[in-house]
């Protein structure tokens, strides 16, 4: 085949491939949007579901999702940031660092069902927290840890060397330099990473089913249980009870996640200059 003809065909195929990918994204978002938009109303958002058919609203699920995600991020953020500081500023290449990185990669790739069973065994049963926001948040934290560790470490490494040297040159210790100069300079990227991880946490299902239970509840304390939007969607869809509510839940979940994703993007673009 003439090489130019082959080239043209190949390029066309590549364009089609990219087109398919983008099309699928819009198809999914569009499908959920079109079917769900009619369901969304203040009543849907702010009232409780009742009855076998779960009619009404999904307010407690919204609260549960936000509650558990916030709790998980509060738990994981300080640990992940300090861990990243260690890896970026103090660690020397060696067996210890390799082990830590291997462990982090492994945690990141653990199937969520395994993490859910782990949460069940450790937090719900062994530690005695029962089905609760706390158990779910702790399990989610282990899932989020490697993600936030990695983005924070990259953020720290991106701070230019000569800014740090300016600080050392004035007689600052390592911790003073890290805490007063490096971390503040890396903050936009760190925050972006946290927001992206939060978006991931909101979308988790398997992990929270086994650590939070499925009972619909409005959580007040971390030991309360609840049902997040993801589990609610799963149950509605699988049991076929109320497809309308399922679409509405899916749309709200989608909106929440898009909010996190686009929010992270906005943050990183706004602070790109520094």
């Amino acid at each position: 085949m003439d090489k130019r003809v082959a080239n043209t065909i190949a390029l066309a195929v590549l364009w089609v491939a990219a087109g398919i990918t983008v099309f699928v994204l819009f198809a999914i978002i569009g499908y959920v949007f079109v079917n769900g938009i009619g369901v969304i109303s203040p009543r849907f958002i702010f009232t409780w579901p009742h009855g076998v058919a779960a009619v009404g609203g999904i307010w407690p699920t919204i609260v549960s999702s936000v509650y558990v995600t916030t709790l998980a991020m509060l738990i994981v953020t300080p640990i992940a940031i300090l861990a990243a500081v260690y890896l970026a500023e103090y660690a020397v290449q060696g067996r210890l660092v390799s082990t830590i990185r291997f462990a982090a990669d492994s945690l990141a790739s653990v199937p969520s069902i395994v993490m859910g069973l782990f949460g069940l065994a450790l937090f719900v049963e062994a530690a005695g927290f029962g089905f609760s926001m706390l158990s779910a948040a702790l399990a989610l934290s282990f899932l989020m840890l490697p993600i936030v560790m990695r983005t924070t470490e990259e953020a720290i490494r991106a701070v230019p060397r000569f800014i740090r040297w300016g600080s050392y040159g004035l007689g600052a210790t390592k911790w003073q330099t890290v805490s007063k100069i490096v971390l503040p300079a890396a903050t936009p990227r760190i925050v972006t990473g946290i927001v992206l991880a939060a978006g991931r946490a909101v979308g988790e299902t398997a992990v929270v089913i086994y650590t939070m239970g499925q009972a619909i509840n409005l959580p007040r304390t971390p030991l309360d249980s609840g049902r997040p939007m993801t589990v609610h969607l799963y149950l509605l869809a699988m049991e076929g009870i109320n497809l309308r509510a399922a679409y509405g839940t899916a749309l709200l979940l989608m909106v929440m996640i898009l909010f996190f994703n686009l929010g992270a993007r906005w943050i990183s673009r706004r602070y790109r200059k520094v």
């Binding site: 990219a18 861990a83 462990a103 782990f118 210790t173 390592k174 869809a237 898009l258 994703n261």
Partner: protein, 303 residues
Amino acid sequence: MAEHTGAPEPADELRLVTRATYLRELTLKNLFLLCAFVAVLGVLLIFVFVGVRGWPAFTEIGVREFLFGRVWSPSTEQFGILPLIWGTILVMAGALALGTPLAVATAVFLSEIATPRVRSIVRPAVELLAGIPSVIYGFFGLVMLRPIIAEWSGGLGFGAFTAWIILAIMIVPTIATLSQDALESVPDGIREASYAMGATTWQTIYKVLLPAAKIGIFDAVILGMGRAIGETMAVLMVVGNAPVFPKDVFSPLSTLTTQIVMDMPYAVGLHRTALFGMAIILFVVSMSLVAVVRLLSRLGEER
């Protein structure tokens, strides 16, 4: 005229590191190390807690009966997970077969062909796809895709084929973003050399760039494989959940992950142990894939 008036007093002694400072810096360093170690702690805890609950599956049911038993029927005390292993492999293989070409093609497109403007639409689209939760993919598969496939194939629409499509879409972002990074880190000089010899874009891509990036792309595929094996919710909603060897790709089947979710609510005793045993298998497989990727990266660096 060197004057010393107004100049700061020169110190008489070089300051030595005080014990307090030394201790403080050491404490801080160890505190951070402890935080980094939480990751290792996590892995160990998972081993312990899942392992302790699941290990009896291998001892009490017996490795042969458990791993190679062809019948999964807890009600009759039969815990053979071979159909589930087969289900996992079947679903994963099909998803990879469909998803990898699409993902790599998209990656090549982004890296070599797209203009910056087009790239600024497609790459974020890929990243957004990565952010869609699996339950929504499953939901989409269940209400949108299944009826279409049911009509087309005459069956229920649950089965490996449906799972392939949904799972393929789900792993595209993983494979595409990593492959794009691998392609973009190939130095430009190589491209220029190829073009200078009169090669077309496509020839440069498949003769020069893809081979150059092959380790990175392979890593991406392995990670996609890990994702496919471990995916639960989306597969659960489209696969039909019948723990048997499917007769064709349009028949219901089950995977290790989906079976755990289906049975967990009511599993007790040995049944529950078997489910934890399956979790051990999943965990070991995913860690092995990570180890493979790390090993390959290290080999690639040494070259």
